[in-house]
């Protein structure tokens, strides 16, 4: 009996193994195998969603001893194939398949294609594992695998120093979050005795929780720490802009559907836990809002086309996390869903631009691309429209409205922050489009650019369609879990919509007036360009603490440990040793006879009792 969910999980792993072990010599074969497998996964997840039986029997991975009578003794690999997981799977596989397709041309010249495609397949495997995971342990395993595969992919061009540094940074930053996550999981396990989502939900429904007060807050925040790392929330957001060193399709995959989405997805999964504790929920909401604002501010001053998009991802993730914190996880998930399509579209569009401009990424060296790459421009513009939430015709509008609605209902300060972020979003995205696509070409590459090749164009077109219809009721309700599509029937809905449209217009107009026809950036705000010095702060902190701790440890080691304990103990040991040395004649036979005497004593002692 073939169980489709397990097949869906193992297919990319098998592909990765096949490519890595068997197809290492042939880039073309590896590319087509990877792409075929990604489309196969897409087919599988569609068939699961439209009604193929999604039964997946759990598999006991290992059984532990009895730590405590209340704890589960088996660590089970089980798949949870509810509507949430399956809809997420659909997003992951659509974006994954299109990214594969896009890579066919984007990476055509690359020498290490087998490694690249093996990495992509591994990435899809890890993400599938997170999405389908039925319990926190299994999710953690794949959580780590996502970290590993992102490390491999961001550092794909590892001969470039910055790429190697970026992959290392992403990995290490994620470790901090993962540590918190692990602590959280253990806390939940210890208190509830189980980490299975279904069992946990049943336990929460029963009431009378084993975990209350500060500990509950701590547990939820520890779990949230995992999401902070993966979804790049403040203060662990620093890895994400640097991760742009990876190949652009990888950025599209990481930013749209896989790694950063994992954090939000996990929060949605455990939203029933977050709802238990208002303190933790509020903290989460404020971190999300803060990240959204911070990232939007930073995005206004970036020159690299991919970094602008990276900061915009951060800001949108901030939105989602904020929504989760405001106990509107349906809205958060809906935004995750729509955002996946148009952010993948934007990244792949940026990839097409970069590809056609011979790997030039600075927007001030582009310009006038609208005429030379009309299709790319059109799709990119639609993606931008989705991101800045042009009313009624774009998917981003519906999901963002849902979030703003819930923010207005739950917390006014956060609502105004979110509105301001919407304004900033409109501002920097308009800036990007105006500078890169309109005006005159500002470099030779931009003058020579031609339209993107067919597979890229195909991927872009598909994503454009999805970006538009993604927010429409008929489409989204067919895919999302029941009750996740917003109703827009709150009494303050009209006010919220008015605010958001005003913000949108203000941002677009301001940006258009400021950047139209410019040759250089008229604004130059150094703190924003340098990421508000957060990176420098971290470097300084690390240096301070590391050097300080090292100095203290060295002094302790030299004087107290070595001088007193070791010196004193050594003298004592030497004295005792000189006594006992006489009992060691160095003859194996002597020891053997002693051992035999021991055996005799043992038999004597046990047999006479």
């Amino acid at each position: 009996m073939v169980q489709l969910p397990w097949l869906l999980l193992l297919l990319p792993l098998a592909t990765a193994a096949l490519i890595h072990f068997a197809l290492g010599g042939s880039g073309r074969l590896a590319a087509w195998t990877g792409t075929a497998s990604a489309f196969g996964m897409l087919g599988l997840s569609v068939s699961l969603l439209v009604g193929a039986t999604a039964e997946a029997s759990p598999f006991v991975w290992l059984e532990t001893g009895m730590f405590h009578p209340d704890l589960e003794q088996a660590i089970t690999l089980s798949l949870k194939t509810d509507r949430l997981a399956l809809s997420m799977m659909l997003v992951v596989t659509i974006v994954g398949a299109l990214v594969h397709l896009f890579s066919l041309t984007y990476m055509a010249e690359d020498k290490a294609r087998p490694r690249y495609y093996a990495g992509l397949s591994l990435f899809l495997f890890s993400m599938t594992g997170i999405v389908l995971a039925g319990n926190l342990f299994m999710m953690f395993i794949f959580w780590e695998l996502v970290g590993l595969s992102s490390y491999l992919l961001i550092g794909h061009w590892f001969t470039k120093k910055s790429a190697a540094e970026a992959s290392k940074k992403a990995f290490l930053t994620n470790r901090i979050g993962d540590f918190g996550f692990l602590v959280g999981i253990l806390l939940i396990w210890g208190a509830f005795g189980t980490v299975d989502f279904n069992a946990l939900e049943r336990r929460v429904d029963l009431g009378n929780l084993p975990l209350t007060g500060g500990l509950l807050t701590a547990g939820i925040l520890c779990l949230f720490a995992g999401a902070v790392g993966k979804s790049a929330q403040f203060p662990l957001h620093v890895w994400l802009p640097d991760a742009m060193e990876g190949p652009t399709p990888v950025s599209a995959l990481i930013h749209a559907a896989t790694m950063v989405a994992a954090g939000v997805y996990m929060l949605v999964r455990i939203s029933f836990l977050i709802a238990l504790d208002p303190t933790a929920a509020m903290t989460i909401a404020w971190i999300g809002g803060g990240t959204a604002l911070l990232a939007a501010l930073l995005a206004t001053q970036q020159d690299d086309i991919k970094r602008v998009l990276a900061y915009s991802t951060l800001s949108q993730l901030g939105y989602m996390v904020m929504a989760v914190g405001l106990l509107a996880s349906q809205a958060a998930y809906f935004h995750l869903f729509t955002h996946a399509f148009f952010k993948a579209l934007l990244f792949l569009g940026a990839g097409a631009v970069i590809y056609c401009c011979h790997h030039e990424q600075n927007i001030w060296k582009m310009g006038g691309l609208a005429k030379r790459m009309p299709l790319t421009f059109a799709t990119f513009a639609i993606g931008t429209a989705c991101l800045i939430a042009v009313p009624y015709v774009t998917s981003g509008f519906y999901s963002k409205e849902a979030i703003l609605d819930s923010a207005y209902a739950a917390s006014r300060p956060l609502f105004w922050i979110a509105a301001f972020v919407a304004l900033l979003t409109a501002f920097y995205m308009t800036r990007l489009v105006v500078v890169a696509f309109l005006g005159k070409a500002r470099s030779q590459y931009a003058r020579d650019a031609v339209e993107a090749p067919t597979p890229m164009a195909f991927a872009l077109t598909c994503l454009t369609l999805l970006s538009i219809v993604g927010g429409f009721r008929f489409f989204a309700e067919a895919i999302l879990p029941r009750g996740f599509y917003p109703t827009f029937d709150s009494p303050h809905h009209n006010f919220v919509m008015a605010v958001s449209i005003i913000c949108l217009l203000a941002g677009v107009v301001a940006s258009f007036l400021l950047y139209r026809g410019r040759e250089k950036d008229p604004l130059h705000i150094t703190p924003l360009r340098r990421g508000l010095y957060i990176d420098d702060l971290y470097t300084g902190l690390i240096r301070l603490f590391q050097d300080g701790a090292a100095a203290v440890a060295a002094a302790f080691d030299r004087h107290i440990l070595n001088g007193f304990f070791l010196g004193g103990t050594a003298a004592l040991t030497q004295a005792v040793g000189s006594v006992f040395r006489r009992m060691q004649p160095g003859s194996l036979h002597f020891y053997l006879v002693l051992a035999a005497l021991g055996i005799m004593l043992l038999i004597w002692a046990t047999s006479t009792v």
């Binding site: 060691q584 004649p585 160095g586 003859s587 194996l588 036979h589 053997l592 006879v593 035999a596």
Partner: protein, 104 residues
């Protein structure tokens, strides 16, 4: 045949091995005697397994233990012989009385 017969046979083998280990001076032969002792232990285990039927069949857990012991013993012999070879390389002898560097 009763369990006693097998235990006594294994016991004799054990004592032979122990005697050899005490008497011999060649480290390789001592190692072989060690294997004799191990074999006697596995023999007792298998005998116990056969004579202690659990629901009609021999107690398979004891045989599993023997299986693992044999596996581990194979690894032990390989490592032990490698150590003896490097010992021989440095001292040019496998005679126990020449090997007393660890003497206190």
């Amino acid at each position: 045949m009763t369990l006693e017969h097998y235990l006594i046979a294994a016991g004799i083998l054990f004592c032979t091995g122990l005697f050899g280990m005490i008497v011999r001076r060649n480290i390789l032969v001592i190692f072989m005697c060690l294997e004799l002792i191990l074999a006697s232990a596995t023999l007792t285990l298998v005998a116990f397994s056969r004579f202690r039927l659990t629901s009609g069949l021999p107690d398979i857990d004891a045989q599993m233990l023997v299986f693992f012991v044999i596996t581990v013993a194979a690894a032990e012999v390989a490592v032990g012989l490698a150590i003896i070879v490097s010992l021989y390389r440095s001292t040019q002898s496998v005679h126990m009385e020449d090997l007393h560097t660890l003497k206190g």
